[in-house]
């Protein structure tokens, strides 16, 4: 076989690495986690609300609820503010200032999550505790910090979508007598909708997957949370907190939590792909 | 059934290039129709015709650059020195070194002037500095560019003017020591002085090479070419000596094109 052919085959092999890694991840996580789900029963694993590893009780419903509320909260915080910032950067300030702000926002997105968690712990948690009572370590704190963390993602991608719109959209609307704001609200934002939605889904993925910052500020109670001031765990923090010392069934239960997380993320990913394909059509 | 070369005429046996029953397709679109052509060595053959008549396709199917495009296919044969270039034992890099090509836009590579010209020879395995310098100088002289750049061979080729870049491309092609030169509208976008100097080099070069030229316009063809083929929509309508084609064209369409009735 000629040298060129050998090279081509080698590159093909290299290129298969990412799908192979994905397969490996799925295989090993499932291999560890599925037997436990089988043992405990899918229903009682997903819907059981008692997590007592020492008593062999593995119900992760409180964590599912915790993940849900924290993610929802982060979207409530992050989406309006993020889109507002995107509009701000794209339409309301001079391009030169935007050019300076953009890399700074990107930098904020590169800051490790533990820094945001730290800030949440030092500043936000006492603030909530003093203003609203409760432990302070709460879903509220988590939502706020998580919302701030996903802002750079939502801002960058939404702003890119807005900037990618043909200038004729804006010029056309303005020349028909629309005000600037009407143009933004009725023409530009709807046209950039698919990009904005993509950014939201991406942000949601980041929010669901966040671990360390949430460990620092959610309080990590294993009971079903009943208000936004409650302490809670998410699927991720459940793993992150106990993995250090878990063994046997307990450890497998954490892998099982990972399996559930895996499915949720894959579902989100597929949703994102479908929407982005529809948007392009 | 393909015509075997031994059965065709004595003239064709001597031809540098012999094209027989050649059709070329981009997918299902037939870009070249039933081409039969033989080109003698050491002459300038002009490929004349309006846009989209298959001229560039013809050149690129000769050095098989068309192989890079997905979905191309052909029927018929092209022989160079009696060797079928689409045959299985043909080495593509070697074929492309035998047929040098210059494109219609100045395509200097983002390298120094020296490295641009030395690019092809390096692929052949040539790395000895003195040999490379020799080849670079010789090629730049043949392309009438040496005097202008000999003091700045290490500077970036992208800083040259359009006319200089195009002559660089010619030098680059000559450095391969090819047998056949293919030039696709080499003077498009160039000023009259650069054009004249390139045309002058071509006339000198035909002593050593066989040249296929897609001229920028009819006047260029009449200035420079020995023989001309007139192409229309993928078919070669007429072929003959430049003098014959321009003064007494046999085909009405050729006459119309030459007199400017369409273009």
């Amino acid at each position: 076989m000629s040298k060129e052919k050998i090279l081509e085959k080698s590159f093909l092999l290299i290129a298969l690495s990412s799908i192979s890694i994905l397969a490996l991840i799925a295989f090993f996580i499932f291999q560890q986690g599925i037997p436990l789900i089988w043992k405990v029963g899918l229903n009682s694993f997903l819907l059981g609300d008692r997590w007592f590893p020492s008593k062999e009780s593995f119900g992760i419903f409180p964590m599912i609820v915790g993940s849900f509320w924290v993610t929802l909260g982060s979207l409530i915080v992050g989406v309006p503010l993020g889109v507002a910032c995107a509009v701000f950067l794209c339409e309301l300030i001079p391009p030169t200032i935007a050019m300076i702000l953009r890399p700074m926002i990107q930098l904020l997105g590169a800051i490790p999550s533990v820094i945001y968690g730290f800030w949440g712990l030092i500043v936000l948690v006492p603030l909530i505790r003093d203003s609203f009572g409760g432990p302070g370590l709460s879903i509220l704190a988590g939502s706020l910090v998580l919302g701030i963390m996903i802002l750079p993602t939502i801002i960058s991608i939404s702003e890119d979508s807005l900037r990618a719109l043909p200038r004729t959209y804006k010029e056309g609307a303005l020349s028909l007598g629309a005000t600037h704001w009407q143009t933004i609200w009725r023409v530009l934002l709807p046209s950039a909708r698919s990009g904005i939605v993509a950014s939201i889904i991406l942000g949601m993925g980041r929010a669901i997957g966040e671990t360390m910052a949430m460990i620092m500020i959610l309080g990590n109670a294993t009971q079903l949370p009943n208000s936004i001031l409650s302490s809670a765990r998410t699927l991720t923090t459940n793993i992150g907190i106990e993995m250090g010392y878990a063994s046997g069934d307990h450890r497998q239960a954490l892998f099982a939590t990972g399996v559930v997380l895996f499915f949720i993320i894959m579902g989100l990913n597929s949703l994102a792909l479908i929407i982005s394909r529809k948007g392009r059509a | 059934m393909p015509i075997r070369l031994e059965e065709s005429s004595f003239m064709e046996k001597q031809a540098k290039i012999a094209i027989q029953n050649f059709h070329f397709y981009y997918g299902t679109f037939m870009a070249l129709k039933d081409l039969n052509l033989s080109i003698q060595p050491n002459q300038i053959f002009a490929i004349l015709g309006p846009a989209r008549s298959g001229k560039t396709t013809l050149l690129k199917s000769m050095n098989r650059l068309t192989d890079l495009i997905f979905g191309t296919s052909h029927t018929g044969q092209i022989f160079i020195d009696s060797q079928e270039i689409y045959g299985p034992e043909i080495s593509l890099p070697e074929l492309r070194r035998r047929l040098g090509m210059v494109f219609d836009l100045p395509t200097a590579l983002p390298l120094s002037i020296f490295e641009n010209v030395a690019y092809g020879p390096r692929f052949k395995g040539l790395s000895e500095k003195s040999r490379l310098e020799e080849i670079v100088e010789k090629s730049l002289q043949a392309a009438v560019l040496w005097d202008e750049v000999k003091d700045r061979l290490q500077s970036s080729a992208l800083r040259l003017s359009g006319g200089q870049q195009q002559r660089l491309c010619i030098a680059r092609m000559l450095a391969l020591e090819p047998e056949i030169l293919m030039l696709d509208e080499p003077c498009s976008g160039l000023d009259p002085i650069s054009t004249a100097s390139i045309e002058e080099s071509l006339t000198k070069l035909k002593d050593k090479y066989t040249i296929l030229l897609v001229p920028h316009n009819i006047q260029q063809a009449s200035r420079v070419a020995d023989r001309v083929g007139f192409f229309l929509e993928g078919k070669m309508v007429e072929e003959g000596s430049a003098f014959d084609l321009f003064t007494r064209p046999k085909n009405k369409k050729t006459e119309d094109y030459i007199s400017g009735k369409f273009g």
Binding site: I14, I19, L24, F88, S113 | L65, L109
Partner: protein, 277 residues
């Protein structure tokens, strides 16, 4: 009373201004706060000394080694794999079944949360391959995490090399590999380097996966098989265990400065690269 369009516009724009301004202000204030408390504590000793009293005093030297070591391992593994994948997708295939599968794998990998990578790295590298909690386990896990980023940026960089360069290279007798090596890769290099820097930034900041695979020792490592904590992990432990807020601030500030430096270099490269063309 009918509100005119101009009033609506004024109101809407005003709201956006306030929202955006305060959002950006809060985000920058977070950085500022950590830097304000932490920067004064950064003196040379901090960087050369090992932690003492579980981190209440001393410095972060071993964690710096750990951060560098893990990042180097991750980059050394992920870059050839990532660039090779990009070369294959851009130079050796068209859109086909194979390329779609590869892209699907890459996209999915990009979305996997870091804790899952941590679980995977633990069961695969630490346990199954018997590497234990180590720089190697941590670095390899990080490599799988940054692979999609490198593939993506490398593909963009390769795609941006003009087709004419390739065509000319082929016309001059180059084989496909020669063309890639001498024309495509050198011209795609700045873009690829940017991707590598992004991978570096991600490795530096990653915590969840690193704790589960590289351990949390703060003793200076002596081999690839030693466990070690990175700066980010050290910061997390200091903060969460409440060991020392001062040290946490200092470590956090150092972390932010490092990320700032990496990002600035990456941005500068992208800027220069975009303007060179």
């Amino acid at each position: 009373m009918k509100i005119s369009r101009h009033h609506t516009q004024g109101l809407a724009k005003g709201v956006i201004w306030v929202a955006a301004f305060s959002t950006l202000a809060v985000m920058f204030w977070i950085l500022y706060q950590v830097l304000r408390e932490g920067l004064p504590l950064l003196h040379p000793d901090f960087f050369i000394q090992a932690p003492r009293q579980m981190g209440r005093a001393g410095g972060i030297f071993p964690t710096i080694i750990g951060t560098i070591a893990l990042t180097v391992v991750a980059i050394v593994i992920a870059t050839p794999l990532g660039v090779g994948t990009a070369i294959f997708l851009q130079e050796y295939t068209r859109e086909s079944g194979v390329s779609r599968v590869i892209r699907f794998g890459t996209d999915c990998l990009a979305g996997v949360p870091s804790i899952i990578f941590g679980l995977f790295g633990f069961v695969f590298f630490v346990i199954f391959l018997r590497m234990g909690w180590s720089i190697l386990s941590g670095g390899l896990t990080l490599a799988t995490m940054i692979l999609p980023t490198i593939i993506c940026t490398a593909e963009e960089a390769i795609k941006s090399v003009p087709y004419t360069y390739r065509e000319v290279s082929f016309a001059l007798g180059g084989t496909r590999w020669q063309t890639i090596r001498k024309m495509v890769l050198p011209n795609a290099f700045p873009g690829i380097l940017t991707g590598v820097l992004l991978g570096v930034g991600r490795s530096v900041g990653e915590t969840a996966a690193v704790i589960l695979t590289a351990g949390s020792s703060f003793i200076t490592p002596d081999s690839l098989f030693s466990p070690i904590r990175t700066m980010a992990v050290h910061f997390y432990i200091l903060a969460r265990e409440g060991i020392s807020m001062e040290m946490a601030y200092a470590t956090g500030a150092a972390l932010i400065l490092l990320i700032l430096a990496i990002n600035t270099v990456a941005n500068w490269m992208m800027y220069r690269y975009a303007h060179k063309a």
